[in-house]
Point group: C2
Chain length 333, copies 2
Amino acid sequence: MAKSAMSQSMDRPLPDISSLRPPGGKRSSKRDRILEIFLRQEGHLSADDLCELVRREDAGIGRATVYRTLQWMVGAGIARKVDFGEGHSRFEPSFRHPRHFHLICTKCHRSSEFLSSDVEALMEEIAAARNFATTQAVVQIYGTCEDCRTGTKTDTIDGTTTELVFARDALRIAIATERSGLEFYTRAAGLTKDARGRTVFQRLAAEEREHLGTLEKRYGELVAKNPQLEAKPTFLFFKGAASGLFAEGAAKLREGVDDQQALLIGIKCERGSHKFFKRYGERFEDSEGKRIFLEFADEERAHLDLLIREYRGLVERQDRRSPAHAAVAKPRR
Amino acid sequence: MAKSAMSQSMDRPLPDISSLRPPGGKRSSKRDRILEIFLRQEGHLSADDLCELVRREDAGIGRATVYRTLQWMVGAGIARKVDFGEGHSRFEPSFRHPRHFHLICTKCHRSSEFLSSDVEALMEEIAAARNFATTQAVVQIYGTCEDCRTGTKTDTIDGTTTELVFARDALRIAIATERSGLEFYTRAAGLTKDARGRTVFQRLAAEEREHLGTLEKRYGELVAKNPQLEAKPTFLFFKGAASGLFAEGAAKLREGVDDQQALLIGIKCERGSHKFFKRYGERFEDSEGKRIFLEFADEERAHLDLLIREYRGLVERQDRRSPAHAAVAKPRR
DNA sequence: CTAGGTGCAAATAATTTGCAGAGGC
DNA sequence: GCCTCTGCAAATTATTTGCACCTAG
């Protein structure tokens, strides 16, 4: 039985490339050369592809060294080994997008990538149900790509645009969530009888509107600077329970609730939304998209705090009026 | 570049084993021997494992023949080639469960299987968004299994119990859906003012209750006959949008609706539920679990028809009273 | 000086192929 | 007799190793 497995410890946050020379071996020499050439490429290289490339620039480098360097890179978390069932492994730089998945065309042998937090969430659930400690997950969809079926060249996401497409998708998701939040608060403001409560909701609606404006402006700037962006396929699939949350909240509002309940619903929505974007934002590598998610999470957090403050104030005022009823459920945290 | 790909055309509904001898080659001889030995095993065999097994029973069979038979089996849809990243391929009989996914323990090198219609649905969506024609999907979760971490032996699903565990899970899902349906109709009956409409909802509630009883009895019988079943881990992960549908429907009822709207909500729920179970039932191989899903789909269909009939009656009666308002949206189909 | 890095060629491992012979129809 | 199946050994491909040599700290 051969080579069993190059240490499967992938998907670490990887600091920066220059700082990881020491771990393991001495400084370096050809290693650097190979690494540099590897990182310069895009797509999924086979060991042999890399050999060729290296040989082209530096005649005196042996296949064995390339293989050894590849093993080191995988162990150090610089590269990821992927298997497309071709009888040989391929390698991809891992610093760009951790845990992305692949659509693999069996006709043209090209593969395109996608991110799906939805799929990840499901896999986490499944692993948890089986008490399985996940280190890595592989999702590969095999089939025929659009280009091969129709003969036309469709727009693809290449190495230079992934970052941008990711940022675009992050913005789109944030905007969608913001919209449903705005709708929720507008409706809540319309329903609330208490003048003070209404003011809070109006203020939140105004904030959402403003933030929505900011996000849309940013989106506009992004696509203005990169006109090809709008046509690119979706890279990040993320239904975002957050948008579901606000819709659900809005439905509850329609059932008719008192001011206190409305605040609690708002709190639930913002808490869910915050947690959600924080959690998913954190699992991405440093990038514009990640930053958008985390910023957005902070924004939601601020709203959450505001709502909680207001809720406390409301309960306090009620207490003062009729201390006996004070036993109303308090929001956690 | 080697062997590229054994025809990727897997996952066909496979008729029965005896009838697929002719396609391709002559009758057979050793082929049958190898096939028979392969099918008798459970788990994921490597080509070498199979060679050993075959050699043990029939000394005069060469490695090449085993490889060639394996290729033929994959092409004929009898076997599926799986790659766990060990440097060699493994093969599994494909007639049991099409498109299942794997949890692979990197410590003990064992793998357990699961089905997730939720993951499948997401992958379909993703493929559709990219205009990608899927032929096969691979989902592998690598990590450490419970046994390896805790040292204890947990209950696993082996070849003899998969069918039963699948049936168990199908029943559990059907029961959960039935429960939420029952709750929905009970609530609807309570809310409906029109005597006739109320009768319909009561009748449906009664039917759901009865069917629920049947399903629960069946579940009880199943686990009584196989006491080890209750402790087995979940095999089929299936949130079932259907249960979500009824819950959503019930929420809408709470908002306060008239009888006609209540019927429409019921129709929407049953239609969704029927479609859902039909669709997912169809993608399974013939098995008790599949039958449970399809039976359940039929049941929901009957309810749907009843609701539609009732809805039509209601509209007609209204028409007779005030023909002018006849332009109410009709349910499709 | 010394541990690890490197090249080359040989070793290993998984899988396929060429070819002569065997077997069913 | 034809056509495919088979076995064996040789070929191919991907990847690793042994070993002598080289090089940076």
